[in-house]
């Protein structure tokens, strides 16, 4: 809760000091009728002194009300509900790809340490991490959609299935591939490198000798002993990557016209649709906190030595 309140306060302050008048944009931007302008300020409480505006905002948050969009004139929570599923689906797909790919590549590099495979993996990892996502997305689009015609260029599709008991419409799956792959390639490198380092470090542990001495096969030793013991740093990277993807896939959403929340928030900054920015950022902060919490819980499961106690 303190984290959320601090985030709320920081975002509010930033937006308050951002030049540009929201009422002005609502009233027409280039040529605004002064009476309409005043009336809009009154409607949204923008004519009140800053401390009063801030307290009103805090009061709303504490009541669980994220406010109403100046532009769309509907609750911010409804806007988040509209856009977050697209972001979540993209992040899940990307993290599955990047975790899978990263683990496989990292394992290969660790197994063939110092050999050609290792060098290639490290090089690819470096490339993936360094390439700007925006550029990578466009290249993938040009190759797989424009040139080869295997996948759609962009978008979410119009005819995906609706999740039962919700109004959430899933993307058409082929539309998901390129944006997910773009995000995955960008983060796969980091996962592969951490996986490699962690596996190599674990690989020198004495208990592996013991396992081998007991007659366990190489594959079994790797899967049950090395990989399991090397997982904590890998899971940390994957988890943080996932949390980041939930809020920060803006460039990919932009390139592939993906109707996600990140792009919506950036757009709202441009429109000075302050409630959407404030509510959106607060929501993403909450998600980030939840993912971190889930990560801490995951450590308990992965490594029985980890335990949290009141006295600790």
């Amino acid at each position: 809760m303190p984290v959320l309140l601090a985030a709320a306060a920081i975002v509010w302050l930033f937006l308050f000091f951002l030049p540009g008048d929201p009422a002005r944009l609502i009233a027409g931007g280039a040529s605004a009728d002064p009476d309409v302008l005043q009336s809009i300020r009154e409607e949204w409480g923008l004519d009140r002194p800053a401390p009063a505006q801030f307290l009103h905002y805090l009061g709303m948050i504490l009541r669980g009300d994220l406010g109403t969009s100046y532009v769309q004139k509907r609750p911010v929570s409804a806007i988040i509900a509209d856009h977050f599923p697209a972001t979540l689906i993209l992040a899940v797909a990307a993290v599955i790809l990047s975790a899978g790919g990263g683990l496989v590549l990292g394992s290969l590099a660790a197994l063939y340490r110092g050999r050609m495979v290792d060098t290639v993996v490290l090089l690819l990892a470096l490339l993936g991490t360094s390439l700007p996502v925006f550029w990578l997305g466009l290249i993938l689009m040009l190759v797989f959609a424009s040139f080869l015609g295997w996948l759609p260029v962009l978008g979410y599709g119009m005819n995906g299935a609706v999740l039962p008991f919700t109004s959430i419409r899933l993307p058409e799956w082929d539309h998901l591939v390129l944006p997910a792959l773009t995000l995955a390639l960008a983060s796969m490198g980091a996962i592969a490198r951490v996986a490699r380092a962690s596996l190599i470090e674990t690989g020198t542990a004495d208990f592996l000798q013991t396992a081998r001495a007991k007659g366990a096969s190489g594959a079994r030793v790797f899967a049950r002993h090395t990989l399991k013991n090397a997982l904590i740093p890998i899971v940390t990277v994957i988890g943080l990557d996932f949390a980041g993807l939930l809020g920060g896939a803006v460039a990919t959403e932009y390139v592939f016209a993906w109707p996600g929340l990140g792009k919506t928030i950036v757009r709202a900054i441009g429109l000075r649709d302050l409630p959407v920015v404030e509510g959106g950022v607060l929501f993403l902060t909450a998600i980030f906190v939840l993912v971190s919490l889930a990560l801490d819980v995951a450590y308990l499961y992965i490594d029985p030595r980890v335990h949290y106690s009141r006295s600790a």
Partner: protein, 542 residues
């Protein structure tokens, strides 16, 4: 625990999953369906005609709604729409509209004169906060109604079940063109007084297309309205897709996911031009681009010679013919071609560095010496940046140092317009103005009349009594030729004697259309104000 053995293979499969969908090709639209797909950069801020104030909102509103009159997109003449005919009294104050019989809203109800009254009251009502309230303010009693002093608009009456009479407080020549704006569309009360405000997400009108679906950030779908008074449109379906990134949108157009695109490739991009160059339609549209001076602050305040020097220093021919070819045309003045009052013989300011230098000296700043630091503001965008850099470089050649300040639209508007009492920070600013309707009043009054000083549109705080007088006189003049002449005279003073801007460009639209899209009207109203009821798809045709 056994399932953990499956982790690695499962992840491998996931990593390889993209290849499972290899071999996919673009699905062609069903041949029987007439569907048209075009792109907007982003979601329209609103689909409420009373609030629509930007080209993206208008692009949708225009096709869902209809008002009493409309503009012919080709000739820009006013023609009846929901009104079958109209008459204007000899004193220019009373407008009588006879409604068509058999105009239906999308909810199935017949349009009645009471709907016109309701729609107009809705725009004027204070709580609607319509940015286009001014369109109806010439009607007698409109202001009193807005201020709550009167329960109805005195100048609006409905003598019978097919007639609407509007009485103006005084003759106002551009009133009819103003009524063509989509904001004054006729809407059904029952839909627009819904307490849940469903109309914000699902507008109801009486236009050729009815609203179907809107997925934010993804698409808006419109369907043909069978009972449209003008006859069911040829297109069965219109899909408006939100694609912000221009490069991606162009790829989507080439791949066949869009039938039209407002973005054309750079003429220097030969590979791309080879693909789509033949599909580019280029046409003038009613807008003027300029760099405004802030005339409330030094050094431009009261110094016409300095502003003239800036005008001569900038090479518009180079800008539009060499640096950024294929787009806009160099401007001589304010009123763009196609608008009555445009003056093709206006000399303007052809590039002349010698004249610029001598005027600079006359203005008190020989070779630019003594000029304070000047910042040229632009809103974020590559084209704006390139224009600003070229202007900066041209000015430098005659000794004028200008810095560029690039900020986002909201910060830009705040910095440029200031408040009513305090001028904006920006000393120079790049701007483009698209006329809402084809009348010189739609550019001269908002941008240069002193009554619109500051945030109301006259950002440069230009005040020239003669220009004001001509603009006012033209409003009271009914004869179109005499009006055009008055605007020409106002423009000549504002351009040649006391320039408020560097006159940069008459705008041109460039739009891509697939060859199978027929019935396209290259309208000077711009690529987004495209009436879709005339379009049809003829696949196989060239």
């Amino acid at each position: 625990m056994k399932s953990r053995h499956l982790v690695v293979p499962a992840l491998l499969a996931a990593a390889l999953w993209p290849c499972l969908s290899c071999g996919r090709t673009q699905k062609p639209a069903a041949p029987a369906e007439q569907a048209f797909r075009f792109r907007l950069h982003e979601d329209p801020p609103t689909l409420d005609p009373a609030l629509a104030n930007d080209q993206f909102s208008e692009a949708i509103v225009l096709n869902v709604h209809r008002g009493l009159v409309e503009l012919d997109p080709g000739t820009l003449e006013v023609r009846p729409a929901v009104a079958e005919s109209y008459t204007i009294s000899p004193d220019g104050r009373t407008y009588t509209f006879l409604l068509r019989d058999g105009v239906f809203f999308h909810n199935g109800r017949k349009v009645a004169p009471g709907d016109v009254v309701y729609s107009f009251e809705r725009i004027l009502r204070k709580e609607t906060n319509s940015p286009r309230r001014f369109l109806l303010e010439p009607i007698e009693g409109a202001t009193e109604f807005t201020e709550g002093k009167s329960p109805s608009i005195a100048g609006v009456s409905t003598p019978d079940d097919r007639t609407v009479v509007l009485r103006l407080s005084k003759p106002f020549a551009p009133f009819l063109p103003q009524l063509t704006m989509t904001n004054t569309a006729i809407v059904p009360r029952e839909a627009y007084e819904d307490p849940r405000k469903g109309y914000l997400r699902a507008p109801v009108g009486c236009g050729p297309f009815r609203f179907s679906r809107w997925e934010q950030g993804n698409f808006i779908e419109l369907l043909a309205f069978d009972r449209y008074y003008g006859g069911r449109p040829a297109l069965d379906r219109v899909v408006v897709r939100m694609i912000e990134n221009a490069t991606s949108a162009l790829q989507e157009y080439i791949a066949g996911g869009l039938d039209s695109l407002d973005e054309t490739p750079d003429p220097g991009d030969t590979a791309m031009m080879a693909k789509v160059g033949s599909e580019i339609r280029k046409y003038p549209f009613i807008g003027t681009g300029y760099i405004g001076f802030n005339m409330a602050v030094a050094p431009f305040k009261g110094n016409a010679a300095l502003r003239q020097a800036f005008n001569y220093a900038v090479d518009k021919e180079y800008l539009w013919n060499v640096l950024m070819p294929g787009g806009n045309r160099p401007a001589n003045g304010i009123i763009p071609p196609g608008i009555p009052g445009h003056d093709p013989d206006l000399p303007g300011y052809p590039h002349d560095e010698a004249k610029a230098r001598s005027l600079l000296a006359k203005a008190g700043f020989p070779s630019g010496k003594g000029l304070p630091p000047i910042a040229l503001w632009v809103n974020t965008g590559e084209e704006n940046r390139r224009i600003a850099e070229q202007v900066q470089s041209d000015l430098k050649k005659v000794g004028i140092e200008v810095s560029i300040r690039e900020v986002d639209w909201a910060a830009y508007i705040a910095g440029v317009s200031g408040t009513r009492d305090k001028p904006g920070q920006a000393q120079m600013f790049r701007f483009g103005w698209y006329l809402d309707y084809p009348d010189a009043d739609a550019i001269l009054r908002p941008l240069l009349h002193s009554s619109n000083w500051g945030p109301a549109g006259n950002f440069g705080r230009y005040k020239n009594r003669e220009v004001d007088a001509f603009i006012d006189q033209a409003l009271d003049t009914a004869d179109p030729k005499a009006r055009a002449d008055l605007y020409r005279r106002a423009e000549r003073i504002a351009v040649m004697d006391d320039p408020p801007w560097i006159f940069l460009a008459y705008m041109e639209s460039r739009t891509l259309y697939k060859p199978y899209v027929k019935g396209v009207v290259l309208s000077p109203l711009g690529e987004f104000r495209l009436p879709l009821d005339r379009l049809r798809i003829e696949r196989g045709a060239t």
